[in-house]
Amino acid sequence: MIKVIKYVWLDILQNRIVLAYTVFLLVISATLFGMETNPGKGLMSLLNIVLMVVPLISLIFTTIHFYNSYEFIELLLAQPINRSKLLLSEFSGVASSLVTAFLVGVGGPVLYYAPGATGAALLAAGVALTLVFVALAFLASVCTRDKAKGIGLALLIWFYFGLLYDGLVLTILFTFSDYPLEKAMLVLTTLNPVDLARIFIMLQMDVSALMGFTGALYQEFFGSAAGSLYALGVMLIWIVVPIWAAVRVFCKKDL
């Protein structure tokens, strides 16, 4: 498996997109920190990058990579290689290179300008989101037959988690505004990895003061060991389930 990952890396390194992504993140992060005199506000601006750009790039890059490596996959599948291991290797290769790009591109500036718990939370959330959306992109890719459909589905996923889901949450809020929904809200928002990451980082940024009672509730929940485990568990589920489903579909896929 490690051998296959090695070749996935070689392939990724050759097309330079990940390098461009790293540079892009570096430039954006350094610019944001450079513009703001207060590193905390730099982190705040970075939050939006992490929440929107990281999922988008992870989805699109993974989908394109998958379809571009179709030849590679075809070639290897005629060889004595386990299908599920091949896909897991592809996942590991893509995920690890995107995570590296993120850690260099965002982690570097964060460590330089704003080291500390908040920065660490931002990096952890970014890494988790990268893994989640790479996994989802693999699932989308193995379920679609051509590149255009794959990218379309990837964009749909991004749109759903980044925007649509919050819209639904807001609608629910309005519809049931007469009921005590705090607990339900807590569960609803943590079911979306993007929201979970956002809240996790915000609590570190002590924005929770703005969030009044709700903030206190979240703070209490995520501050506890059970809450941290829950957050970690939800993220893990969002990584493991899609990639597991992708492996299952891939093992039955005709090439």
């Binding site: 807001l170 956002r198 929770s208 703005l210 969030m211 009044g212 709700t214």
Partner: protein, 405 residues
């Protein structure tokens, strides 16, 4: 000749100085108070005096040399002043005890005038300096540091009840329940004080009309500053900073009228100013920066004017909880303003609506804050800017400034 007479006048009054010290014939302050005559000076030399319940009932100057320590050993009040024209200066007053029945203080002034409490160090006191039914008193250059427990078991740093013409100046107050507390105090001035790290409010007043607050700094207080049920207050050049927490305010105004809030700085507070039931307040030339909410103006406020203020990098500049707006916004600088100034008169040609849609949503549904900083909220606010539908149309700055003042 007349001048000579005047110079000799103090001598003729026969006022004398009584020296207290470990090496002197009078070794306790109590003894000195007993022997002193009106208008005498008691000079207390450096040393540790384990005394309490020192009753001052005649006009005296009581002065410490190199901060002699008066230690109440947590058993009672230190000085209780019942006479006018008393000065207490230069002491290190510590360990005032606490009871639930009497508000023991390091220095308590009861029904007196012209009492001056100057340049003392007050440590671990239940109440620091306490005035009751007194007037024309001065509290100046004291350093008051409490040992904060819970709100109920900690007293106020400087406390005044039913007083008039008090001056509170250049004090440092921390670790108390309220830094400065006024109730039924009028015609008084509070200036150049630093009140920080108090459990509840840095400054708290009620029913205290016609007072002025200048150049004070209120930082890191549990709930910021709260002022209530008062008319004709002037607050200028104060700094309200870092009052951060789920129920913290830079300043909380409740039922305040005919007042002026000018040239203050509100920085990094959960809420810069919260207004409730206020009317006819002129709010101008203040700086609101890095607050969660710059201002939160409840619908119960009317006839207030907000002009030439600067709003920078607040999460929300202005929030309100109703559709009716009876206040005036004019010529403020808003960093979120994206309009243009074609005629170059320094004010934008497009009006600015400082209330965002999302802040309205939060007012209605408080737990909507879970969506704070989400992409969808950004989009919603954008859409609302283009086509306002939910935000109050009348809450508008018709001439927003293009540049901060």
């Amino acid at each position: 000749m007349k001048v000579c007479w005047l110079l000799l006048l103090p001598l003729l009054s026969s006022a004398k100085t009584i020296v207290v010290g470990p090496a002197e014939s009078i070794r306790t302050v109590r003894q000195a108070l007993f022997v002193a005559a009106d208008y005498d000076t008691i000079l207390v030399r450096r040393g540790l005096y384990r005394e309490r319940n020192l009753l001052v009932e005649k006009p005296l100057v009581i002065r410490g040399e190199n901060f002699p320590i008066i230690d109440g050993q947590m058993k009672g009040e230190l000085f209780t002043v019942r006479a006018s024209n008393v000065t207490i200066q230069g002491f290190d007053l510590r360990n005032v005890g606490m009871t639930s029945t009497i508000d023991w203080a390091a220095v308590k002034v009861l029904e007196a005038r012209q009492v001056r409490v100057i340049g003392n160090r007050i440590r671990n006191a239940y109440f620091g300096v306490y005035f009751s039914a007194s007037d024309h008193c001065l509290v100046s250059r004291n350093d008051i540091k409490g040992n904060p427990h819970e709100e109920q078991t900690t007293g106020n740093g400087i406390h005044a009840w039913k007083c008039d013409s008090i001056r509170v100046e250049n004090n440092r107050i921390s670790g108390h329940r309220d830094g400065i507390y006024f109730e039924f105090v009028t015609h008084s001035t509070v200036q150049r004080n630093r009140s920080f790290g108090n459990i509840r409010y840095g400054l708290h007043f009620m029913f205290s009309h016609e007072n002025s607050y200048f150049y004070n700094t209120f930082q890191h207080n549990g709930a910021g500053v709260a002022v209530m049920y008062t008319r004709k207050v002037i607050m200028r050049h104060n700094i309200f900073e870092n009052n951060w927490g789920s129920a913290a305010y830079g300043m909380l105004l409740k039922d305040i009228s005919d007042s002026k809030i000018e040239d203050n700085i509100f920085r990094r507070n959960t809420i810069g100013i919260h207004m409730e039931g206020t009317s006819r307040i002129m709010t101008q030339r203040n700086l609101f920066i890095d607050n969660g909410w710059g201002m939160r103006i409840q619908a119960s406020c009317n006839d207030n004017t907000f002009t030439r203020n600067t709003f920078q990098s607040n999460t929300f500049d202005v929030a309100t909880n109703g559709q009716t707006v009876l206040n005036t916004f004019d010529r403020n600088y808003w960093d979120k303003y994206e309009g243009y100034d074609l005629n170059r008169d320094g004010t934008g040609d497009v009006p600015f609506h400082p209330v965002s849609l999302y802040s309205m949503i939060i007012e209605k549904i408080p737990y909507g804050v879970v969506l704070l900083h989400s992409f969808m909220v950004t989009l919603l606010d954008r859409a609302e800017k283009v086509m306002p539908s939910l935000t109050p149309e009348a809450l508008v700055d018709a001439k927003p400034l293009m540049k901060p003042r």
